[in-house]
């Protein structure tokens, strides 16, 4: 025991083999003793044996404790127990009594142990017997019960058997019924889902049909549902089984309901469209956009609704246009457009700008209505018209919206054009109309009705302009030159070209800078042809008339001056280049004529005319010295006259040609005449020097006067070179 307590107190690492270590201790001691002298002493051996006896064996301990219990209990509990035992076992009780006597217990125990134990065994055995007897009788009773139960059970078993057999058919039937119910439930569920999926609820039907329920997001949701039902049903029927009766019914019912929805949308749109009576830009609500999107599936309905819109817009635009014209803004500001009717450009410009702005607004409104995304584009810039359905609707509506406005616009523009006296103003208005026509066509397209009107009125403006121009040309043709008319361009021509100048400046102002050269020419060709040709023909006819009246009058110079004037007007403008060229050609040929005329004049003035005539007319073989002006004396005086003429200022500058406004032209004409004159002198000299013409001392004849027969000297005096230069 001591070792155990030591062991528990020991730290765990020492506990490797506790019992062997304690035994080792003992053996150590033993060995020490053995090693001593008294090792062989029998007493000590005995002692050793006693001391070494080990009572730690649990079995022994237990036996001893049982034993001690047996005797200790004699006093208290044991006593009573032994009394009980004693009442039935007298012998036993004596022994027990002996045991209970205090200090004598151990001795008695040693003496009576065997007997006491046997008595106790006997007592117990008797108790067992008694108890088993009772158990046995009870078991017999139980056996009886069990037998009875067995028979009952058998009975019940039999009954059950028969009942089971009877129930089996019932159960079968119940199972059948149960699965049937399942199937019915499933079908019910399927039918319910089917109904939910393939039919509208009362509420929904009402939403589509009722006039009292508003068109709103919920309405369109219902429309979508109805539409989906029809489509799904179609898909179902496209299966292998072909159209089913249910499918056909669903489609026809729902279609009917959907159509009622469409009708409702159409009615709603028509109603809403009637409210679009504002002039400025109109806002389109998402509901309206959605409504239009739906109606596009039913073009007939959409067309009807849109015709309401078109009417509303038509009337509205007409009214607001008329208001802008005659009433102006609130409180008269901005002022009514008609207040400026006296200023044709402003009046027409304001009207067209109003229309243009209305177009831009209307276009934006319609794009919003049809949900056409505004492209990345300024409205003013060129629109590429896409061939889309929306675009068709939009153009159609634009057309209709501005339809009613066209005639008051046309009327006013027409009145304005017609009341103009000045062709310049008319031209300006016409150009303005063309400008707006181009600008607006970018938004409305060429085919739009309004484009037609704009084309018409600008054509008309040009028509009136040309009428005015023609009237002016006719007036021009009636020009009568005053008596004191010199060779300068007449006043009527100057007036006429002044107008032309202004028209040109209007034209150049109207160019946008991106026109090709051809376009620029063509844009002005008819004006140019009309005005310039009329001028030329006027000039030549008055010149002819004048010449008849007054033969001395210098028609050639007059005409050249007139042509030159026109040339000066046109020359700065590249688009008039062809006309400038024509004028230059005309001037050239007239200058040539003038040059020969001028030559005729100066050859007379220079006194060589007669001589040259004789030289040129020579036919017979008669020597020239015998003929007329070529006779030596005559010739000498002619040459003298020529010398005189050569020293006059007329050689350098012809007084007649001084009236030509183009001095370079005058120069050219004069030189040409001088050159011809020099040629004439040369001819005379050549003839004089010919022996067959029989001049005595030809050189003396020629050398009598300047230039002494020298052509070089003559050219020097005249300041003209050889040849045509």
């Amino acid at each position: 025991m001591a070792s155990t307590s030591t062991r528990s107190a020991r730290p765990p690492f020492n506990s490797s083999s506790p019992s062997s270590s304690s035994q080792a201790n003992l053996r150590n001691q033993e060995d020490k003793l053995k090693g001593s002298t008294a090792a062989r002493n029998p007493i000590s051996v005995r002692l050793h044996k006693v001391l070494a006896t080990n009572y730690d064996d649990p079995a022994i301990r237990e036996a001893l404790e049982t034993l001690s219990d047996l005797y200790r209990n004699r006093d208290d509990v044991g006593k009573r127990a032994s009394e009980e035992v004693g009442s039935s076992q007298t012998g036993g009780s004596i022994a027990v009594e002996k045991l209970t006597v205090g200090s004598g217990i151990a001795a008695r125990a040693r003496k009576n142990l065997r007997r006491d134990a046997e008595i106790k065994l006997t007592q117990s055995t008797q108790q067992f017997l008694k108890a088993f007897k009772e158990v046995d009788s009870k078991l017999d009773g139980l056996q009886e019960h069990i037998d009875a139960m067995q028979s009952r059970c058998d009975e019940a078993q039999g009954q059950l058997q028969s009942t089971n057999e009877e129930c089996k058919s019932l159960l079968d039937r119940a199972g059948g019924l149960r699965s049937a119910r399942h199937a019915v439930n499933d079908r019910q569920f399927a039918v319910d889902s089917f109904i939910i999926r393939f039919s509208l609820t009362e509420n929904e039907i009402n939403t589509l049909q009722s006039r009292d329920i508003q068109v709103d997001a919920n309405f369109f949701r219902t429309m979508r549902k109805a539409d989906r039902i029809i489509q799904d049903a179609r898909v179902l029927m496209s299966g292998d089984e072909g159209p089913s009766k249910a499918g056909v019914e669903i489609i026809s019912t729902t279609s009917q309901q959907l159509e009622q929805g469409y009708d409702k949308i159409a009615r709603w749109c028509a109603l809403e469209f009637r409210q679009f009576v504002r002039d400025a830009q109109l806002d389109v609500s998402p509901l309206m956009r959605e409504a239009v999107k739906w109606l596009r599936n039913r073009p007939e309905l959409l067309t009807d609704a849109l015709s309401v819109l078109a009417q509303t817009r038509q009337a509205t635009l007409l009214n607001t246009f008329m208001d802008a014209l005659t009433r102006g803004g609130p409180g008269g500001i901005p002022r009514p457009i008609e207040i400026h009717a006296h200023d044709p450009l402003r009046y027409v410009g304001d009207m067209l700008a109003w229309v243009h702005q209305a177009i831009a607004g209307e276009r934006e409104f319609l794009e919003a209505l049809f949900d056409v995304k505004g492209e990345d584009r300024m409205v003013g810039s060129v629109r590429i018209f896409k061939e889309s359905e929306e675009e068709e609707w939009i153009q159609d509506l634009m057309d209709k919206a501005f339809e009613k406005l066209r005639s008051p616009l046309r009327l006013r523009v027409r009145q304005t054009i017609r009341s103009q006296e000045s062709s310049i103003t008319t031209y300006k208005v016409a150009n303005l109309l063309t400008f707006y026509n181009t600008t607006m066509q970018r938004t409305i397209g060429e085919k739009a009705g309004l484009s037609n009107t704009l084309n018409e009125i600008s054509d008309e403006a040009y028509g009136v302009f040309f009428d005015t121009l023609e009237a002016q040309a006719r007036n021009l043709a009636r020009t009568i030159l005053p008596d004191n008319q010199d060779v300068q361009p007449p006043a009527t021509l100057l007036d006429h070209t002044q107008i032309l100048r202004e028209i040109i400046s209007v034209y150049t102002g109207s160019l946008l800078g991106n026109e090709s050269m051809d376009e620029k020419r063509e844009g002005f060709r008819s004006v140019l042809d009309l005005t310039v040709d009329a001028s030329i023909s006027m000039c030549s006819s008055v010149a002819d008339a004048r010449k008849v009246q007054k033969p001395t009058w210098d028609k050639d110079t007059f005409l050249l001056n007139c042509l030159d004037h026109l040339l000066v007007v046109l020359r700065p403008h590249d688009f008039a280049d062809y006309k400038v060229k024509a004028l230059q050609d005309e001037i050239e040929s007239r200058a040539d004529l003038l040059a020969s005329d001028h030559y005729q004049n100066i050859i007379h003035e220079a006194g060589l005319a007669d001589c040259l005539a004789v030289c040129n007319d020579k036919t017979s073989n008669e020597p020239l010295s015998h003929i007329g002006a070529m006779q030596p004396r005559e010739l000498a005086s002619h040459l003298q006259a020529f010398a005189q003429w050569l020293s006059s200022p007329d050689v350098v500058r012809s007084p007649r040609l001084a009236h030509l406004n183009d001095q370079r032209l005058a120069d050219r004409v004069h030189r040409e005449a001088l050159r011809s004159l020099a040629a004439a002198y040369e001819k005379v000299c050549v003839e004089v020097r010919k022996p067959e013409n029989r001049y005595e001392a030809a050189n003396t004849v020629l050398g009598g006067a300047r230039p002494f027969g020298s052509l070089n000297a003559l050219r020097q005096i005249m300041g003209v070179g050889e040849g045509s230069g």
Binding site: Q214, D216, Q281, D283, S285, P286, A324, P330, A368, T439
Partner: protein
């Protein structure tokens, strides 16, 4: 299906507006009017800008506080030969954006002619914003900010410098003008119901104004009586108006 509906609601908010304002953009040729507008509507510089022929139209919706405002913008040609044409478009404009080029003095000295024309022809309550454009070309500046600012205050117009190249301040003139106009509406000076004022109600405002009889769509309708809209000045908080403006 439900997602579609949500989208519907979102676009509804996006696409309608409270007011529509007509603006004109005027000033000498080459001052950058078209570039300014282009930057405002497309958010980028307009390369290779050509002279404007006559007028061009564009539009953009902006937000001022709670209000959505659609601007109808008329870009006019600055070239003299188009003056008679462009003047016709001033009629009834609610706002004028008067543009000069800070690197071109003559475009500044001519301003009074433009302002005169605009005041004579546009809406009586015309709001004008003077814009000194090309502020990116500081080194070529010919008109000082202070001088222009003084001119602006003498003539009772707003003023801001912008660059349509860098995009600096390009929104400001439009926001300034729109804000001033909304204030006029708020104070009752301007009545959008009247034609020719250059201002009109959009669907969004109408729905708020009208009773359910007209453009009525469910819950939004019929809350208020037909009554001129009262704007709260608080609503019109100076939106992204950075930079120098008076």
């Amino acid at each position: 299906m439900s997602s579609e509906d949500n989208e519907g609601d979102a676009t509804e908010l996006l696409e309608t507006y409270d007011f529509l304002l007509k603006f004109i953009v005027i000033g000498e040729a080459g001052t950058g009017k078209s570039c300014l507008l282009h930057h405002f509507t497309h958010n980028r510089f307009k390369d290779h800008s050509q002279h404007t022929i006559g007028v061009e139209f564009s539009s953009r919706t902006i937000k001022l506080g709670e209000k959505r405002i659609k601007l109808q913008l008329w870009d006019t040609a600055g070239q003299e030969r188009f003056r008679s044409v462009t003047r016709s478009y001033y009629r009834g404009a609610a706002g004028a954006i008067l543009v000069y080029d800070i690197t071109n003095r003559s475009s500044f000295t001519n301003l009074f002619r433009w302002l005169e024309d605009a005041r004579a022809l546009a809406s009586p309550h015309l709001v004008t914003v003077l814009v000194g454009n090309k502020s990116d070309r500081e080194e070529d500046r010919e008109v000082e900010w202070s001088e222009a600012s003084q001119w602006a205050s003498q003539n009772g117009v707003h003023f801001v410098e912008t660059s349509s190249l860098s995009g600096d301040n390009v929104e400001s003139p439009f926001l300034l003008a729109a804000r001033a106009i909304l204030l006029s509406i708020e104070s009752g000076v301007l009545d959008p119901e009247k034609a020719g004022s250059g201002v009109s109600y959009g669907d969004r405002a109408l729905r708020r104004v009208n009773s359910s009889s007209r453009l009525s769509f469910g819950s939004l309708s019929g809350r208020k009586k037909r009554n001129p809209i009262r704007l709260k000045i608080k609503d019109l908080v100076p939106s992204p108006l950075q930079g120098r403006c008076c």
